[in-house]
Symmetry: C2
Subunit: 194 residues, 2 copies
């Protein structure tokens, strides 16, 4: 599965060829290998990444060295450390490639510049922020409210592609159950492991 930035933006707003050439000149291409990092905790400046190909995870490492998954990203999605990106702060989380990835990234300054130059780009990024905000609120509700089996089923319905392509222990971390519990939950749903 592979997607283009132009198709992705055109779902919300459209630009002429000339405008799009100018807009896309603010994005930069990056090819990354499985396990490589695009953001590491402590980093001074972070970019925002659009996924063309591959799967990534953002996660936080706590003081006991446990990994807490915040978000997965697949083609057509955006990923970054949102607090660091929007507020120009030092990164507190990591974003790592789960598979080989192809990405486009934009800096904070260039995103703000494009949003200022094109009302339509400001609209596009507002729609994306709204969607991210809603998804985060849904996740909070999921964490407060659903049982382990409900969280697992919810994960499958939200991310049908991911369930086949990421290691089970990451799904267990995301939905907040032990690996053993996840095996029990998933044994009737899927028989692929990775």
């Amino acid at each position: 599965m592979k997607t283009t930035l132009r198709e992705h933006i055109a779902e919300i707003v459209s630009f002429s060829d000339e405008e799009f050439v100018y807009i896309s000149s603010h994005f930069h291409y990056k090819k990354m290998k499985k396990n490589q990092f695009i953001i590491q905790a402590g980093q001074q400046k972070v970019n925002k990444y659009f996924v063309i190909k591959g799967i990534l995870k953002s996660y936080y490492i706590d003081k006991d060295d446990r990994e807490h998954i915040i978000q997965f990203a697949q083609p057509d999605w955006w990923i970054t450390d949102y607090n660091a990106f929007f507020n120009n702060k030092v990164a507190t989380i990591n974003v790592q490639c789960i598979t080989d990835c192809e990405l486009l990234y934009i800096s904070h300054d260039d995103l703000e510049k494009l949003s200022g130059e094109f009302h339509k780009m400001e609209h596009f990024f507002r729609v994306k922020s709204n969607a991210g905000y809603v998804a985060s609120q849904e996740r909070i509700l999921t964490m407060l409210n659903l049982t382990a089996i409900e969280r697992f089923n919810n994960f499958i319905s939200l991310y049908p592609n991911l369930i086949q392509s990421i290691p089970k222990y990451l799904i267990a971390s995301y939905i907040g159950v032990s690996r053993e519990m996840l095996s029990r939950l998933s044994k009737n749903v899927t028989n692929h492991t990775k």
Copy 2:
């Protein structure tokens, strides 16, 4: 504590008096009593509320009738069912006044109309969505990562005003501990109850 919409918007973008008269004509004033609802689960259309005065909570009632707090709001904050508002869906959560409140609200259509008519309003609402997105991601991290005492201290530092003005059982629900546990956590921090 009381705030005005104009001061609030002017923190991010500025408008002439004429522009602001036009913009504010899309907002409507509502005075509500303690315990009244501004949004109820099942409602067809929801508005977005700006708090002039008072404190509100948004919460979800699960199938076992337990209340899960999603967000509090105090003067200068916005509150709604974000999924219902942004995606024009039926409300799944409730928003209720904890104290007597004064509010300004705007409909989804009017927010989109103003965002289309004024690039600066689109920018304003994007900045607000970014802030909401970041706050939600921080809350997810808090839930995944912090102990009860850390969540309590985090709550105090994020919401110093709220700790004095809302019932303790709501704080317990928000940070995900029992009421008894909260009493133990708070006995050295505060001696006011309500």
